[in-house]
């Protein structure tokens, strides 16, 4: 029994959002997007940041169509080649970059990601967007904002604000990628 005290503490995982919660949060962000975009809704483009921002963007588009009848364009932008931590973390496989046929010039682009943490992914996505066109405005929607920003970036639409410590990790699972929806925090 004395040995166990020398071992590091078992990581504990606590649920943050259930599958139903995730659904409700997505619905709420969709409503907010419709309300805030107003007559601009037709020019909206939802651009997901892979991996999980991409299915999230598609879901939001689906909900927006259900609630408002407007079909909004969806795209994805892989930010790997724009990351500032490649040298620290090493290279990784790339994911899809796909923009709607009509492009993003002059349109309202909403970046979609699962977790907002340091803000570095969003910075990389902004750099990527700059090479892809010139949107009229860029906004940010995230499922979870866990704080600890390292750059002056904030989200326009937040599913859930979660105060965390830096050492904790927030894990978003989505049915399209992981088989089921959930958000958990491990410390």
């Amino acid at each position: 029994m004395t040995e166990s005290s020398a071992l590091p503490a078992e990581p504990t995982t606590a649920p943050l959002l259930s599958a139903d919660d995730v659904g409700r949060v997505v619905d709420r962000i969709a409503h907010q997007l419709i309300e805030k975009a107003g007559p601009d809704l037709g020019s909206l483009v939802l651009v997901g940041i892979p991996t999980r921002g991409a299915p999230l963007a598609r879901r939001l588009a689906g909900r927006i169509e259900t609630f408002s009848g407007v079909r909004v364009d969806v795209g994805t932008v892989d930010i790997t080649l724009y990351r500032d931590d490649l040298r620290l973390r090493g290279v990784r496989a790339l994911e899809d970059t796909r923009l709607p046929e009509a492009g993003i010039d002059g349109r309202l682009v909403v970046l979609v990601d699962d977790v907002l943490f340091s803000g570095r992914s969003v910075r990389a996505a902004l750099d990527a967007l700059r090479d892809l066109g010139r949107p009229r405005a860029v906004q940010l929607a995230v499922l979870v904002d866990r704080g600890h920003r390292e750059l002056p970036i904030r989200a326009d639409y937040v599913g859930k604000n979660v105060p965390t410590s830096r050492s904790q990790s927030v894990k978003v699972r989505l049915a399209e990628v992981d088989g089921a929806d959930s958000v958990t925090v491990t410390s």
Binding site: D78, L81, Y82, L86, R87, L88, R89, G90, V91, A93, L94, E95, D96, T97, R98, D127, D131, L132, G133
Partner: protein, 310 residues
């Protein structure tokens, strides 16, 4: 690439490595498609040296463009007009370039194995852009990429490589890479233009082009390398062309979906007829375009991560 530091030969690549390069190239191509700014910031601050001891048009320009599109700084070095003509050795040249801060050396050399030696001397990455009659791995990667793009697969694809296999580093690299990726490779050449030891390669060897064409998915024509021909390997150009050249009649015997490839530069009228080279089956122009994407993928995978990591 469970990341290696160098790309020296196609034979070094396992199926996962090779597939990662091809997938990465495809993602880069789709990420850049239709963009006004065809540039990515990934290798900002890195320096790539093109060290070319042999003439090259497309490979050097392709590597240069690939490095520039990833925002690396590029230095082109050709042996002509450099200290090499004063007698400087490969090693001293490489160490000099590295002392000036190069992170990667893309090398083409007339001696087989030169890139391997170079890799032992320098700290940075070495990419083989063709060494003697040994290998030309990025050509094989772009060929595999082109086949996959056109036919949608590599597994089980029947590839016929025709011509001067003896002197062809393109053929060697393709044999290894395509076999690794599951293609079935047949070599067709005059017996004098097949290397000793071809029996141990993962290929079928034939001498009759007409017999294999009706079952081929891909025909890859090799250039007759007059500059390396220091003996009479075949009676005459006309004789070679008649037996091993791809003309319109022969192309007509290919299955409907089959494609015709050539690594370039072509000898039109010799190994490939002009009407074949310009036909809809020909992927020759695609190969050049794909070369840039594939070389971007290679440079990204070798240089994108932490310096000196393996």
């Amino acid at each position: 690439m469970v990341v290696k530091r160098h790309l020296l030969e196609a034979a070094d690549l396992d199926r996962d490595d090779a597939t990662l390069v091809l997938d990465t190239a495809a993602q880069i191509e789709s990420a850049l498609a239709g963009r006004e700014v065809k540039k990515l910031p990934t290798l900002r601050g890195r320096t790539v040296v093109n060290l070319f001891y042999e003439d090259s048009t497309r490979t050097r320009i392709s590597f240069e463009l690939a490095a520039k599109r990833l925002s690396a700084d590029v230095i082109n070095f050709s042996a002509k007009g450099s200290s090499v003509s004063k007698g400087e050795s490969l090693k001293d040249t490489a160490l000099t370039l590295e002392a000036m801060g190069s992170d990667a050396i893309v090398v083409r050399h007339g001696a087989s194995g030169a890139p391997h030696r170079l890799a032992q001397w320098v700290q940075g990455s070495v990419v083989n852009a063709g060494d003697g009659t040994h290998e030309h791995p990025t050509q094989a990667l772009l060929d595999a990429y082109t086949i996959r793009q056109r036919l949608g697969r590599l597994d089980g694809v029947r590839v016929v490589i025709v011509g001067d296999v003896l002197h062809s580093r393109v053929a060697r690299s393709n044999v290894w890479l395509l076999a690794t990726l599951g293609a079935e490779v047949t070599l067709v050449a005059p017996p004098t233009l097949l290397p000793v030891g071809v029996g141990s390669w993962p290929v079928t060897v034939g001498y009759d082009l007409d017999a294999v064409l009706p079952k081929a998915d891909v025909v890859m024509m090799l250039r007759v390398q007059a500059e390396r021909m220091n003996a009479s390997f075949f009676p005459s150009a006309r004789e070679y062309s008649r037996r091993y050249g791809l003309d319109a009649r022969r192309m007509g015997t290919l299955p409907d979906e089959a494609i015709v490839m050539h690594p370039g530069p072509m000898n039109r009228g010799m190994e490939i007829a002009a009407e074949v080279a310009d036909s809809a089956r020909s992927t020759i122009v695609d190969q050049v375009g794909n070369g840039v994407s594939v070389r971007m993928a290679v440079l990204y995978l070798l240089l994108g991560g932490a310096p000196g990591s393996e």
